[in-house]
């Protein structure tokens, strides 16, 4: 029997309780039939299947698409960006706070649409040495519900500023992360590299470090201490940024 892996994002993951499963499917199974198999296994998914986006490997797949052996499937809800998101803007927005290791390839593949020609991604890594100071590991903590809401806000701000950006990933890993481990990913897809993808990915990480409630405790030979940021968000950070007069 053909075997596929299915990765769940967002609310779906909360229902399944598992980020990723391996599934055997009959030969010739379509996306619609795969979804039916998932519903048998997780009946509670039914309510969440409205508006779901399925991707196979690198591209978004329609219900009648065949699912090949070994396919890497991702299921997620596209989150409309900005207040005036056009219905045709169905590009995926993946925002997540997770204890799981970041699968950078899968996350980038998850935002690659048929029209995508460039994906810029930034990943932060636990730095083991800063000058003379050694860091064994960082302990990350999140105010999870608010952090996920703020990740969605950052994605909406990116969509307002860089309208050519297609898929967006903003993922923060939490828990105990050893030196050398990727901790965060901000990735932006666009048709061409100069459509704002570089600027948008940089904005994503900078804004995340301002407003997403996550903290890290640094642990090394000299003991442990909380790292404090420098930005003091206020009510004005609730407004998404106005589109710039001159689009970059």
């Amino acid at each position: 029997m053909p075997q596929v892996t299915v990765t769940f994002f967002g609310a779906l993951r909360q229902i399944t309780g598992e980020p990723r499963i391996t599934l055997e499917i009959p030969p010739g199974t379509t996306v619609a039939q795969l979804k039916a198999l998932l519903l048998e296994r997780y009946p509670a998914l039914e309510k969440s299947f409205q508006g779901i986006v399925t991707s196979i490997g690198e591209i978004t797949a329609e219900d009648d698409a065949p699912v090949p052996d070994g396919a890497r499937i991702a299921l997620f809800h596209p989150i409309a960006g900005g207040s005036k998101a056009a219905p045709e803007n169905a590009f995926p927005t993946l925002t997540l706070v997770t204890e799981e290791a970041l699968d950078l390839n899968a996350l980038v593949a998850g935002i690659t649409a048929p029209t995508t020609g460039a994906v810029v991604f930034f990943t932060g890594v636990v730095r083991g040495r800063t000058g003379e100071q050694e860091t064994a590991y960082l302990e990350y903590e999140a105010y999870r519900e608010m952090a996920e809401a703020k990740l969605r806000q950052v994605a909406a701000e990116i969509r307002e500023r860089w309208p050519k950006v297609e898929g967006i990933v903003l993922v923060q890993r939490i828990g105990r992360l050893e030196a050398g481990t990727p901790t965060v990913l901000t990735a932006c897809a666009a048709p061409h590299r100069n459509d704002g993808a570089f600027e948008a990915a940089r904005y994503g990480i900078n804004r995340l470090k301002e407003i997403v409630p996550v903290w890290k405790k640094e642990v090394g030979p000299g003991g442990a201490h909380w790292v404090h940021g420098h930005y003091h968000p206020t009510a004005r950070d609730e407004r998404t940024a106005a589109p710039p007069k001159n689009t970059p």
Binding site: Q172, T183, V212, W215, V227, H228, H230, P233, T234
Partner: protein, 81 residues
Amino acid sequence: MPAYRVLLFATLRDLAKQEALTLTLAPNATVGQLREALAAIPALQPYAESAVIAVNHAFTTDDTPLTPDDEIAAFPPVSGG
């Protein structure tokens, strides 16, 4: 007098040695009054002024009004990434 529950994170939680506090404040209290009440707790005093106070997952200013039903959180400036 209404009681307001405040979730604590990171340094504030460690110093208070608990994940949430219940503070009694005047009716129609504001974030500024909540901040003063946090500063009156000796363990939190050094961090009360710089604490970020969120209400229902939104950032605030000191004149933001509070109700006892709000989800209130106090935490240091964020350091994720």
